[in-house]
C-alpha cells in the first residue's frame, strides 16, 4: 500500500471522474484537475468565489462548480480549457445544482424550492419545473440516464413526476399516498421507484415506471419510521433501515419482507466475527455503548450490506445467507465508509489518522503517513478499486492499494475476537 503526497483541499471537495482518468479537487476558489496515475496537474480553473460543490458530467468532459452563496454555477471543459460557461440564477438564489445524466444539461434548484431550472449546454433552451418538493432526496435519475423522477408538492399533496431526460417531457404524473414524502429512489434496473414517507410514519411505496402502485409496505405504526433506503445492485432487494434499529429486506417479487436484521447488544453466534479496535493502552468503557440515533446506509454489494448502528460500529450482513457476517467496532465514531466498486472490500474512516479496510478475509488498519495528523474525514474509491482518495479537513492524498500480499510496515492486523 502506497500513499501519495498530501495535496491541499477545501470543504472536502475531491472527486474522481466517472471514467477514472482524472481527479478534481477544490482549493478555495480554484479547481484543480489531476491525472490519476501521475497526479500531475492537467488543468487549473479559477472560479469567481469559493466553490461549494463540484460534479463531473457523466462523460467526464465537463465539471460543474457551484457557488451557492453567489447563486452561480460555472462549468469547465476538460477538452477545451478556454471554453467557459457561467450560469447565474440571480435573485432567485441557488440551493442545489446537478448534472443530468447526458452531461449536457444542468439542473439548478432555486432557493425555497421555487422551481428547478434546466439549462442546456447544447441549445439556448431553458426549461422550468415548478413545485419541486423540498426534501431529502427529491430528484433521482435512472441508472441508464433515461428517466428522472421528481418529488413535487402542490396543494398540500405529494406528487411524483417522471420526466424523459432526452427532451424533458413529462411522462407520468401521479400523486402518492404519503403524508410528507421524504425520498424517492429508482431501482437500478430503472423500472421500480421506491417512495418513502416522513420519519413520523413507517411507509414505503413502490411504483412502476408507468405510475402504477405496485406495493405498499409498513412494518409498524405509531412510531418513528424509515431512516434510510437502499436498493441492491441487482434490484432484487430493497433494504429499509428504520428508527427501531432494524434493517428490513424486501424482495422484488412480492415486495414483502424477507428478513429482518436487528442490532443485538450482545452477539452470541460464534460464526460472526467481531473486530474490536484495540490500542496498545486499551481504553475501557467501549464494550457497552448506548443506542444513539443510528445512521443507516446500505452497501452496494450483492453479497453484503452494512449499516451503522452504534456510531462506532459497522455491521456487515451477508445477503446470500441472510445473516450477520461481521461487526467492526471502532474506537471513535465512524465518519464514512464505502464499498470497493470491484470486490467485497469496505473502507472505513473514523476521523482519525487511520484507514480501516475490511474484507471477508480479515480486517486491517493503516496509518496514513505524513507529518502531522492526517484526520481522515471522508474517502472515495477509484472506479478500478485499486486506489482511493482520503480527505481530511484541508488536505487529501491518494492511497494506492496493490496486491494484498504486499502489506507495508504500517499495516497492523487488528485482533479478531469471536
Amino acid at each position: 500500500m502506497n500513499f501519495s503526497e498530501v495535496f491541499k483541499l477545501s470543504s472536502l471537495l475531491c472527486k474522481f471522474s466517472p471514467d477514472g482518468k482524472y481527479l478534481a479537487s477544490c482549493v478555495q476558489y480554484r479547481l484543480v484537475v489531476r491525472d490519476v496515475n501521475t497526479l500531475q496537474i492537467l488543468q487549473l480553473y479559477t472560479c469567481l468565489d469559493q466553490i461549494q460543490h463540484i460534479e463531473w458530467s457523466a462523460d467526464s468532459l465537463f465539471i460543474l462548480c457551484a457557488m451557492y452563496k453567489r447563486g452561480l454555477v460555472q462549468v469547465w471543459s476538460l477538452e477545451q480549457p478556454e471554453w467557459h460557461c457561467k450560469i447565474d440564477e440571480g435573485s432567485a438564489g441557488l440551493v442545489a445544482s446537478c448534472w443530468s445524466p447526458d452531461g449536457r444539461h444542468i439542473l439548478n434548484t432555486t432557493e425555497f424550492h421555487l422551481r428547478i431550472t434546466v439549462w442546456s449546454l447544447c441549445t439556448k433552451s431553458v426549461s422550468y419545473i415548478k413545485y419541486p418538493k423540498a426534501c431529502l432526496q427529491g430528484i433521482t435519475f435512472t441508472r441508464d440516464g433515461r428517466y428522472m423522477a421528481l418529488a413535487e408538492r402542490r396543494d398540500c399533496k405529494d406528487y411524483v413526476s417522471i420526466f424523459v431526460c432526452s427532451d424533458w417531457q413529462l411522462l407520468r404524473h401521479f400523486d402518492t399516498d404519503t403524508q410528507d414524502l421524504t425520498g424517492i429512489e429508482w431501482a437500478p434496473n430503472g423500472c421500480v421507484l421506491a417512495v418513502w414517507d416522513t420519519c413520523l410514519e413507517y411507509k414505503i411505496l413502490l411504483y412502476s415506471l408507468d405510475g402504477r402502485l405496485l406495493s405498499t409496505y409498513s412494518a409498524y405504526e405509531w412510531s418513528l419510521g424509515i431512516k434510510s433506503v437502499a436498493w441492491s445492485p441487482s434490484s432484487q432487494f430493497l433494504a429499509v433501515g428504520s428508527y427501531d434499529g432494524k434493517v428490513r429486506i424486501l424482495n422484488h417479487v412480492t415486495w414483502k419482507m424477507i428478513t429482518e436484521f436487528g442490532h443485538p447488544a450482545a452477539i452470541n453466534d460464534p460464526k460472526i466475527v467481531v473486530y474490536k479496535e484495540a490500542e496498545k493502552s486499551p481504553q475501557l468503557g467501549l464494550g457497552c455503548l448506548s443506542f444513539p440515533p443510528p445512521r443507516a446506509g446500505a452497501g452496494p454489494l450483492p453479497s453484503s450490506e452494512s449499516k451503522y448502528n452504534i456510531p462506532n460500529a459497522v455491521w456487515v450482513w451477508d445477503i446470500q445467507k441472510l445473516r450477520l457476517f461481521a461487526v467492526l467496532e471502532q474506537l471513535s465514531p465512524v465518519r464514512a465508509f464505502q464499498w470497493d466498486p470491484q470486490q467485497p472490500r469496505l473502507a472505513i474512516c473514523t476521523g482519525g489518522s487511520r484507514l480501516y479496510l475490511w474484507s471477508p478475509a480479515g480486517c486491517m488498519s493503516v496509518q496514513v503517513p505524513g507529518e502531522g495528523d492526517f484526520a481522515v474525514l471522508s474517502l472515495c474509491w477509484h472506479l478500478s478499486g485499486d486506489s482511493m482518495a482520503l480527505l481530511s479537513k484541508d488536505h487529501f492524498c491518494l492511497c494506492f492499494l496493490e496486491t494484498e500480499a504486499v502489506v507495508g510496515t504500517a499495516c497492523r492486523q487488528l485482533g479478531g475476537h469471536t
Binding site: A58, E89, G90, S91, R104, C122, D155, V164, D167, C191
Partner: protein, 617 residues
C-alpha cells in the same frame, strides 16, 4: 369425652360391684325375701326396715292383711290368693300355691326393677358427666364465638374502609379516564388544528412562493442568464431539436412506447428468470421423486407380507407414479394441470418416507437403549482427548505464527534493505536452479541429437555404398541398353518419350508428394517404420525444411530423371517404406544444404515432443 369416660369407668364398675354384693346379700337372707314378698315395694330395703315391716301383719290381723294383699294383688293383675269358692256362703280358703306363685313373680319383678334401677342410675351418671362435658364445651364455644364476633367486627370495619378507598379510587379512575378522554380529544383537535394550520401555512407558503416566483421570475431579471462561449454538441451526436406543437404528441407517443418497451423487457427478463428457476425446481422435484421411488419400492415389498392395507395402496401408488414418470412431457405442461397430481404424489411419498424414517429411528433408539452406552462413553472420552490434543496443537500453531510474525516484523522494520537483498538472492538462486534444470535438459537433448547424427552419418555411408552399387548396376544396364540399341530401334524411341514426360512433370509430382506426406504419416508410424522416414515426415510440416526438401528433390530431378522416377514411384507406393527411406537418405546425402534443412526440421521435432525422441535408436 373419651378422657372423661376412662376416668369415670372404674368408679362405675366398683359401684356395680357393690350393687351385686348387695343383691346377693338380699338373696341370702330369708327375712328380706319375706318382707319383699309382703310389701311388694320397690323401695330399697335395709336391715332395720325389716323390723318395721313386721308390724304390718300381726297375729291378729292375718285375715285382714291377707285380704288386703289379695285386693292389692288383684288390682295389680295377679291371680287371687284365695281358692275359688264353690259357693257363695263358703269362706274362701287361702291358696298357698297362688301365694307362692305371686311371691315368685313379685321377686322376679323386684329383680327386674332393681336391674332397671341400676341401669337408670348408671345412665344418670353418664348423662351427668356428658352434661358436664357439654357445659365445658359450651363455655369454650361461647368464648370462641365471642372472639370471632370481635374479629368479625374488626374485619367488617376494614372492609368498610377498603370499600371506601375503592370508591375513592374508582372515582379517581373515572376522573383520570375523563382526563385522558379530554386530553385525547385535545390531541385530536390539536392534530386536526395542526394539520389545518399546516395546510393553511403551506397554502400561504405556496402563495408566497407564487408571489416570489412572479416577482423574481417575471420581472425580467437580467441577472438570470447563462453566459456560454459556444454551445457544445450533444453527447449522442444528435442535434437539439425544437419541439413544436405538432411533434409534441408524437414525441409523447414515442416516449410512451419506449417506456413500455423498457417495462416489457424487464418483465420478460423476470419471467425468463422465473421460468428458469421453475425448471430447475421441477428438475429437482423430479429427481427427488425418482429417488424416493427407488428408495421406497424395494423395501415396501416386505411389509406387504405383513398384511398392511396402507402399504398395499402405497405400492399401487408407487407403480402409478412410475408410470407417470415415463411421461416426461408432463413436466413441460403448465403447473396448474399437473400441480395437484404432483403435490399429492409427492406428499404420499413423503409420508411413506417419514413413517419409514420414524420406524428406523425407533429401531435405532431401541438398539441404542439396549447396549450402546458403554461405547458412547468411550467415544466421548475419545472426543475429549481429541479436542484437547487439537487445542494444544492450535495453541502451538498460534505461538509459531506469533513468533513468525514477530520475526517478520523485525526483519521488515530493522533490516528492510537486507531482506530485499536476501529476497533477491533467493530469487537468483531459484533462477539458477531453474537454469540448471534447463541446462541438463538441453544436454540430454544434445546427446540424443548426437546419437541421431551418428545414425544419420551411418545411413549416409550405407547410402554411398548402395549408390556405388547402383552406379555399377546402371553402368551395366546402360551397357546392355547400348548393346540392345543397335538391335531394337523403335523400342528406344518409346523409352525416351517416357523419360521426357516424367522430367517435364517433375515439379508437379513433387507437389503431389508434398501434399501426400501428412497422409502417409500414420502409415509409417503403424508400420513401426524406420526412424529416418518418420523423422522426415515429421519435419515436413515445418515449412522451411520441407520447402528445402522439395527444392532438393527438384534439383535432383533435374540432375537425373531416373532418380526422380525412383522416388516418385516409391512414394506413391507407401508400403515399400524401407526402400523409400534409403532413397530419401540418399537425396539428403547428395545435397549438403538440404541436409541442414533436414536437421533443422529434426531439431524442431525435438523441441516439439519428447516422447518421439525416446523412440529413436
Amino acid at each position: 369425652m373419651g378422657d372423661w369416660m376412662t376416668v369415670t369407668d372404674p368408679g362405675l364398675s366398683s359401684e356395680s360391684k357393690t350393687i351385686s354384693q348387695y343383691t346377693s346379700e338380699t338373696k341370702m337372707s330369708p327375712s328380706s325375701l319375706y318382707s319383699q314378698q309382703v310389701l311388694c315395694s320397690s323401695i330399697p330395703l335395709s336391715k332395720n326396715v325389716h323390723s318395721f315391716f313386721s308390724a304390718f301383719c300381726t297375729e291378729d290381723n292375718i285375715e285382714q292383711s291377707i285380704s288386703y294383699l289379695d285386693q292389692e294383688l288383684t288390682t295389680f293383675g295377679f291371680p287371687s290368693l284365695y281358692e275359688e269358692s264353690k259357693g257363695k256362703e263358703t269362706k274362701r280358703e287361702l291358696n298357698i300355691v297362688a301365694v307362692l306363685n305371686c311371691m315368685n313373680e313379685l321377686l322376679v319383678l323386684q329383680r327386674k326393677n332393681l336391674l332397671a334401677q341400676e341401669n337408670v342410675e348408671t345412665q344418670n351418671l353418664k348423662l351427668g358427666s356428658d352434661m358436664d362435658h357439654l357445659q365445658s364445651c359450651y363455655s369454650k364455644l361461647k368464648e370462641q364465638l365471642e372472639t370471632s364476633r370481635r374479629e368479625m367486627i374488626g374485619l367488617q370495619e376494614r372492609d368498610r374502609q377498603l370499600q371506601c378507598k375503592n370508591r375513592n379510587l374508582h372515582q379517581l379512575l373515572k376522573n383520570e379516564k375523563d382526563e385522558v378522554q379530554k386530553l385525547q380529544n385535545i390531541i385530536a383537535s390539536r392534530a386536526t388544528q395542526y394539520n389545518h394550520d399546516m395546510k393553511r401555512k403551506e397554502r400561504e407558503y405556496n402563495k408566497l412562493k407564487e408571489r416570489l416566483h412572479q416577482l423574481v421570475m417575471n420581472k425580467k431579471d437580467k441577472k438570470i442568464a447563462m453566459d456560454i462561449l459556444n454551445y457544445v454538441g450533444r453527447a449522442d451526436g444528435k442535434r437539439g431539436s425544437w419541439r413544436t406543437g405538432k411533434t409534441e404528441a408524437s414525441f409523447f407517443l414515442r416516449n410512451e412506447d419506449e417506456m413500455y418497451k423498457i417495462l416489457l423487457n424487464d418483465y420478460e427478463y423476470r419471467q425468463k428468470q422465473i421460468l428458469m428457476e421453475n425448471a430447475e425446481l421441477k428438475k429437482v422435484l423430479q429427481q427427488m421423486k425418482k429417488e424416493m421411488i427407488s428408495l421406497l419400492s424395494p423395501q415396501k415389498k416386505k411389509p406387504r407380507e405383513r398384511v398392511d392395507d396402507s402399504t398395499g395402496t402405497v405400492i399401487s401408488d408407487v407403480e402409478e407414479d412410475a408410470g407417470e414418470l415415463s411421461r416426461e412431457s408432463m413436466w413441460d405442461l403448465s403447473c396448474e394441470t399437473v400441480r395437484e397430481q404432483l403435490t399429492n404424489s409427492i406428499r404420499k411419498q413423503w409420508r411413506i418416507l417419514k413413517s419409514h424414517v420414524e420406524k428406523l429411528d425407533n429401531q435405532v433408539s431401541k438398539v441404542h437403549l439396549e447396549g450402546f452406552n458403554d461405547e458412547d462413553v468411550i467415544s466421548r472420552q475419545d472426543h475429549e482427548q481429541e479436542t484437547e490434543k487439537l487445542e494444544l496443537e492450535i495453541q502451538q500453531c498460534k505461538e509459531m505464527i506469533k513468533t513468525q510474525q514477530q520475526l517478520l516484523q523485525q526483519l521488515a522494520t530493522a533490516y528492510d534493505d537486507d531482506t530485499t537483498s536476501l529476497l533477491r538472492d533467493c530469487y537468483l538462486l531459484e533462477e539458477k536452479e531453474r537454469l540448471k534444470e534447463e541446462w541438463s535438459l538441453f544436454k540430454e537433448q544434445k546427446k540424443n541429437f548426437e546419437r541421431e547424427r551418428r545414425s544419420f552419418t551411418e545411413a549416409a555411408i550405407r547410402l554411398g555404398l548402395e549408390r556405388k552399387a547402383f552406379e555399377e548396376e546402371r553402368a551395366s544396364w546402360l551397357k546392355q541398353q547400348f548393346l540392345n540399341m543397335t538391335t531394337f530401334d523403335h523400342q528406344n524411341s518409346e523409352n525416351v518419350k517416357l523419360f521426357s514426360a516424367f522430367s517435364g512433370s517433375s515439379d508437379w509430382d513433387n507437389l503431389i508428394v508434398h501434399s501426400r506426406q501428412p497422409q502417409k504419416k500414420p502409415h509409417s508410424v503403424s508400420n513401426g517404420s524406420p526412424v529416418c522416414m518418420s523423422k522426415l515426415t515429421k519435419s515436413l510440416p515445418a515449412s522451411p525444411s520441407t520447402s528445402d526438401f522439395c527444392q532438393t528433390r527438384s534439383c535432383i530431378s533435374e540432375h537425373s530423371s531416373i532418380n526422380v522416377l525412383n522416388i516418385t514411384a516409391e512414394e506413391i507406393k507407401p508400403n515399400q517404406v524401407g526402400g523409400e527411406c534409403t532413397n530419401q537418405k540418399w537425396s539428403v546425402a547428395s545435397r549438403p544444404g538440404s541436409q541442414e534443412g533436414c536437421y533443422s526440421g529434426c531439431s524442431l521435432s525435438y523441441t516439439n515432443s519428447h516422447v518421439e525422441k525416446d523412440d529413436l535408436p
